[in-house]
């Protein structure tokens, strides 16, 4: 068996961090090899070494049996290695063809794009990756952009393809397309490394699996057949993981949030919400499913008073649309923003300051013009204990916390205000399995306590675990609202691509 890639004893050290600790990894020709691990386990680092972006501190790298040393991505490309990054490396203002030609020596000086458009169309035919060559990147969907990334590597003659979390941004149907493309590629003799932390995908598509934990290999190239998600999770986390938090049965109460015919523009001034109507009842979680960028962020922003809109938004009968965020806060709206590092918290301020951001105006923490920091610190300490926030003390700046602990700080602040309505956007994104568990439990506790929760997530599993009902948003419109018990991933997936509109069940019409 020829090894396409052999990595022996790879060590990568960053200031203060040992990102890869003597890692071994082998890729066979024609296989799909999954590289699994939590955030920060060192997957991307290892692959960036293979792609020539980082230089290893120690260890040997062999490609097709030959020892190699990459000084730049160009060397790796020359060795037939192509990487599709998680955050696409595409220039939005340039065309598909321009992006594919970027960095190549041909054309030499004059571009003559139409000639290359033709070449790229031929390449597209070969692998069934269709995307108009003259389109600008910003005009393309995420799935299409990913195709451009794959074409980029194929055009450079790559026979080893590294896909860094390729499914994170795709709708279920697009994932199926991608899987088919990857299989077609391995059939043509190419090898694929598939980085992921979605366990079921790994068991579905990979031939073999390598698992990393905290920079070390915990399973090297084991056969994917017969592996269970539970076994993989244990290898990733180092302990057994409770998979799904349990949701109790609960009859929802009165309508808390009512969104009626709301439209809004996004940052670029393009319509992002087109006549949205929703309602969430007390003790109910309404999940919003959709591919990223279909209006989810804008929906959260109009409800929390951060974005102007047309239409009516009421919380317990009070209209809060187009009014300052303080009106929403005073009416019991809590917000778990998508960007926890910049919107959800002030990174350079302490845990204390971050926890009192909502209640500093009134007693006991404040009196309107000054803050009693003794009381504030006690308040923060209480929350730190109650929510099990791991930090040496409450003076630590928020930016020093891990994602999971920072999210707990935000949730602690929001929950301590006893919200009637919670808007949670991607609350568990990028967190490890353990933190996901505790954040999800906290949300369910709020549901028990009678809060109405609007949960916006791109993780379908999370939506199915937590939600009572799921609404699917596509290009700023609600494709349909379905009860979680009466639907499945296929149906939601179809609606996410806008291909089907479910009539609103009468039970949900308020």
């Amino acid at each position: 068996m020829t090894h396409a890639v052999e990595m022996h004893d790879i060590v990568v050290r960053f200031p203060g961090v040992l990102a890869n600790d003597h890692v071994n990894f082998t890729l066979q020709k024609g296989e799909i090899h999954a590289l699994l691990g939590e955030n920060g386990a060192g997957k991307s680092t290892l692959m960036n070494v293979l792609a020539g972006l980082y230089k290893q501190t120690g260890g040997i790298l062999r490609v097709h049996g030959k020892p190699v040393s990459f000084n730049s991505p160009k060397d790796a490309i020359a060795a037939g290695i192509g990487m599709v990054h998680q955050h696409f490396m595409l220039v939005p203002t340039q065309t598909v063809t321009e992006n594919i030609l970027l960095g190549l020596d041909d054309p030499k000086f004059f571009l003559n794009l139409s000639k290359y458009d033709q070449k790229i169309l031929e390449l597209q035919e070969q692998f069934g990756l269709r995307v108009p060559p003259t389109a600008k990147i910003w005009q393309l969907s995420v799935g299409e952009q990913q195709r451009v990334e794959i074409l980029k590597t194929l055009y450079r003659g790559a026979n080893i393809l590294i896909m860094d979390e390729p499914t994170a941004v795709l709708a279920p149907q697009e994932i199926d397309d991608l899987m088919n493309t990857l299989r077609a590629m391995t059939e043509q003799g190419k090898s694929v490394i598939f980085i992921s932390h979605k366990l079921h995908e790994v068991t579905q598509i990979a031939d073999r699996v390598t698992v990393l934990r905290k920079g070390k290999v915990t399973a090297e190239g084991i056969d994917a057949a017969g592996l269970t998600p539970a076994k993989l999770a244990q290898l990733m986390v180092g302990r057994e993981v409770v998979f799904s938090v349990k949701k109790s049965r609960r009859e929802p109460g009165d309508v808390v949030l009512k969104v009626e015919n709301v439209s809004a523009h996004n940052k670029k001034g393009v319509p992002a919400l087109r006549g949205i109507s929703l309602s969430v009842r007390s003790g109910e979680i309404l999940g919003i499913a959709g591919v990223a960028g279909n209006g989810q962020s804008e929906l959260a922003e109009v409800i929390t008073g951060l974005r102007p809109c047309t239409g009516k938004i009421t919380v317990n009968g009070v209209d809060i649309a187009n009014r300052p965020p303080i009106i929403a806060i005073n009416n019991g709206v809590a917000h778990i923003p998508e960007d926890r590092g910049k919107v959800g918290s002030a990174p350079n301020m302490s845990i204390t300051e971050n926890t009192i951001m909502k209640n500093y105006r009134h007693a006991p923490v404040g009196n309107g013009w000054s803050i009693d920091f003794l009381k504030a610190r006690n308040f923060a300490r209480k929350l730190k204990k109650k929510y099990d926030i791991l930090a040496p003390n409450v003076r630590v700046p928020a930016r020093k916390l891990s994602g999971g602990n920072l999210q707990k700080v935000i949730l602690a602040r929001e929950i301590s205000a006893e919200p009637k309505m919670m808007v949670a956007v991607q609350p568990t994104r990028g967190l490890d399995v353990g933190a996901i568990e505790s954040i999800q439990t906290l949300l369910l506790e709020q549901r028990e306590a009678g809060a109405a929760i609007l949960l916006i997530s791109e993780e379908l599993e999370e939506l199915f675990t937590l939600s009572d009902r799921i609404a699917v948003i596509y290009e700023g419109e609600i494709m349909g609202v379905v009860s979680t018990e009466e639907t499945d991933i296929q149906e939601i997936g179809l609606m996410m691509t806008g291909s089907r509109r479910e009539p609103q069940p009468s039970a949900n019409a308020q």
Binding site: F14, T45, A51, V91, Q94, L102, G103, F110, K152, G269
Partner: protein, 321 residues
């Protein structure tokens, strides 16, 4: 006042702005904001004038100006690309550094008479009535160089491989880096190119358009207008040309307005009290402000406007961790 005179003078004055603006466009397209244009221009103006005087060869003067502007810009490159310091602060410092150097080394240059750029009339084109005397006759050669620079830069940016790389490193440097484009080296190159063109703009003043060395008054803020024009032009060389010549004509027209006693049959207030002229001198700066406001609005529209990575240092190691 005669329209041909204003147009003629406008094209000449506009050439100064054109070089500086196109230079800054190249720099900013690569993702580096260089606010030191005024300093580089003044240093170029001094170096060109002084070298032409010393060597007796105006072309050596032009070369000295280009290299002086370019050399000064590399200081900005070092600070912002290598050390990743704040580009605004560094650019402002560069203005002071360039101005200071120019004034120190320019001492005693006032009143000197070095060889100047030769004037040239284009055969045939120069003979066309109105068009000829306005655009193609009796200009110093650099004006015609400017004419050629506009389409050349446009073609370079949009239709060539290095131009494509230039656009990429200013929009998304990490995308260029991952396919082996050397972001740091190219940014240095375009910072240098911008400096060279700012220096050339300076030489255009002292050796062509308004010969002589008048210390800091030589450039009198034209470098700042060039920075405003970049935004006005939305980083496009053809729009930059329109803006440069328009502003050039305007500067010249304002001077002329202070001349005649009557204007279109009315008493010219500017003639009665020359202090009124100060308000008119404000016009280019007011227009720059308006251009900046309009530019900001245009930039909000989709995908037109500033390179996305403008002003953001590129650090490879910080990605993907």
């Amino acid at each position: 006042m005669n329209l041909v005179t204003i147009l003629h003078a406008g094209m000449a004055t506009g050439t100064v702005l054109l070089f500086a603006t196109i230079g800054e466009i190249l720099t900013e397209r690569s993702g580096i904001l260089n606010l030191g244009v005024e300093g580089m221009m003044l240093l170029g103006a001094m170096a060109g004038f002084s070298a032409s005087l010393a060597t007796g060869n105006v072309w050596l003067g032009v070369l000295a100006a280009v290299l002086a502007g370019g050399a000064l810009s590399l200081a900005h490159g070092l600070v912002t690309i290598h050390f990743q310091a704040d580009q605004v602060v560094s650019g402002l410092a560069l203005t002071f550094l360039g101005t200071g150097l120019a004034l120190v080394f320019g001492e005693g240059l006032t009143g000197q008479n070095p060889p100047l750029l030769p004037d040239l009339t284009i055969p045939l084109l120069g003979q066309i009535p109105f068009i000829g005397p306005s655009f193609f006759a009796d200009f110093n050669v650099l004006v015609y160089v400017g004419y050629l620079l506009i389409p050349a830069t446009w073609y370079y940016i949009y239709k060539t491989r290095p131009g494509m790389h230039l656009r990429a490193i200013g929009e998304k440097p990490e995308a260029a880096d991952t396919v082996g484009v050397n972001v740091y080296r190219l940014r240095y190159l375009y910072v240098f190119a911008g400096g060279c063109l700012a220096g050339l703009a300076g030489a255009t003043i002292t050796l062509g358009v308004s010969p002589g060395w008048y210390s800091a008054q030589t450039t009198s803020g034209q470098g700042w207008i060039a920075i405003g024009l970049v935004i006005f032009a939305q980083w496009d060389p053809v729009r930059a040309a329109v803006g440069s010549y328009l502003f050039g004509a305007l500067r010249r027209g304002i001077l002329d307005l202070q001349g005649p006693a009557t204007l279109l049959g009315f008493v010219n207030p500017l003639y009665i009290n020359s202090n009124w002229g100060f308000f008119l001198k404000m016009t280019p700066y007011l227009l720059t402000i308006i251009a900046l406001i309009l530019g900001a609005r245009a930039a909000k529209k989709k995908r037109l406007g500033a390179p996305a990575a403008l002003g953001v240092p590129y650090i490879r190691g910080e990605r993907g961790l």
